[in-house]
């Protein structure tokens, strides 16, 4: 399963915040969404929350233009979106990755944010392909044969601890948790014969 993205919305108005939340809920990739009402402690909050995407109202940074440069410098992977209340096409928001405007239709805003999201590289740990490695297939086979972690370790010359790690990754990749579920998977994929299953 792809990693979920964390968002941080910085906006004073409740109505606009709710609108932005509503838009963000459109994406499959959306995970946690945090809100801030002003730019006080913004840097500290970014360090703490570690969002993947920051959405901030242009008005909030007019007074502190150096703040956003600072954020850009410190958090290189963070995607920055500026929200503008009225059309300010002439304004220079070059430091941001994207500008969305109150006057734009939903379809355009969603499309723009989606393509920005697509640029975000998946985090290493979550970039698991759903295909099992040869080693993992071997572990699934042993599980389906009814072996314990200790026995599997002995058969494959690995520590029981490594077996547990394999099992966790297998469950994560396949979405199957129980021994009987893994047994079904093993039989369907010809890792074992049905007569061999316990």
């Amino acid at each position: 399963m792809a990693a979920k993205l964390s968002f941080l919305i910085v906006e004073k108005s409740y109505i606009i915040r709710s609108g932005l939340m509503q838009i963000i809920s459109n994406f499959y990739e959306t995970g946690v969404v945090n809100e801030l009402h002003n730019v006080e402690n913004l840097l500290k909050n970014i360090s703490g929350i570690k969002p993947d995407v920051l959405i901030i109202n242009a008005k909030l940074i007019d007074a502190v233009p150096e703040l956003i440069l600072d954020i850009r410098k410190k958090f290189k992977d963070l995607k920055l979106i500026v929200f503008v209340g009225t059309r300010r096409e002439a304004d220079n928001f070059s430091v941001f990755d994207l500008k969305i405007s109150v006057d734009e239709p939903k379809s355009l805003i969603v499309e723009k944010i989606q393509s920005l999201i697509n640029e975000i590289k998946p985090k290493k740990d979550d970039n698991l392909s759903e295909n099992l490695s040869e080693r993992e297939k071997e572990v699934v086979k042993q599980i389906a044969l009814g072996k314990t972690n200790k026995e599997i370790g002995e058969t494959l010359f690995i520590s029981p601890h490594t077996v547990i790690t394999h099992r966790k990754n297998i469950t994560k990749k396949l979405g199957i948790k129980t021994v009987s579920g893994l047994t079904v998977y093993a039989i369907l994929n010809n890792l074992i014969k049905i007569e061999e299953a316990v």
């Binding site: 979405g175 129980t178 009987s180 579920g181 369907l188």
Partner: protein, 243 residues
Amino acid sequence: MLITKNIKPADVILQNYHLIPIISRFGIKFGFGDKNVEQICKQYGIHTDFFLEIVNAFNDKDYNPYEKLRNMSLSLTVSYLLKSHYYYNKVKLPFIENLIDSLEWEEEDNVKNKNVLKKFFSQYRKEVTEHTANEETEIYPYVLELEQNYNNTGKTASSLLEKLKTKSIKDYAETHDELNSSLLDLKNIIIKYLQPAKNQDVTEQILIEIFKLEKDLTDHTELENNVVIPVAERMETELKNRN
């Protein structure tokens, strides 16, 4: 929408068909015309307030029935849980099992696929049956015994006092395992890994039934965790203090 005793169940069901199995679980038969909740409950000897808490919880996921249920007799909740057990073991699980049995694949895969799924499901069915049987013979009678003695301000039965020395509802709460993992696995297997059956309509029915059963079991566990266990715990403490 809040369901009250003056509302007609016919109107409610027409708005939300998810209540259909709940109505049946209380033993209410369809064809009840324009009677309201209170009249129907009276006719069937159902505790109206208890009925309302259950149907409201099913009707609106944000409705929290637990506080009110904790203040009603545990025997009401237990008798509802027993009816749910019957529904799982005698109605839903056999129904899904029959559906699995009627799946068909191309000749060379038919036997293998069918056998592996049937075996998985019959194991699961056994798990559920054992789990519910344990609750019916051990947990629920104990909880009802607690309540009976709790309400009886006189002497606490010595047999119960003996049990209280070694037994606690907390042990049950700890071993109260999830029955849903296997269902989640089954959904993944059917959606992602099983070869498509010739009769896709049956696959579709099976999946829908599993989703419904999963939701029902989750509600069931919630009811045990939020009503039966805390109330029994309170009674255990009180009975120990009394004696």
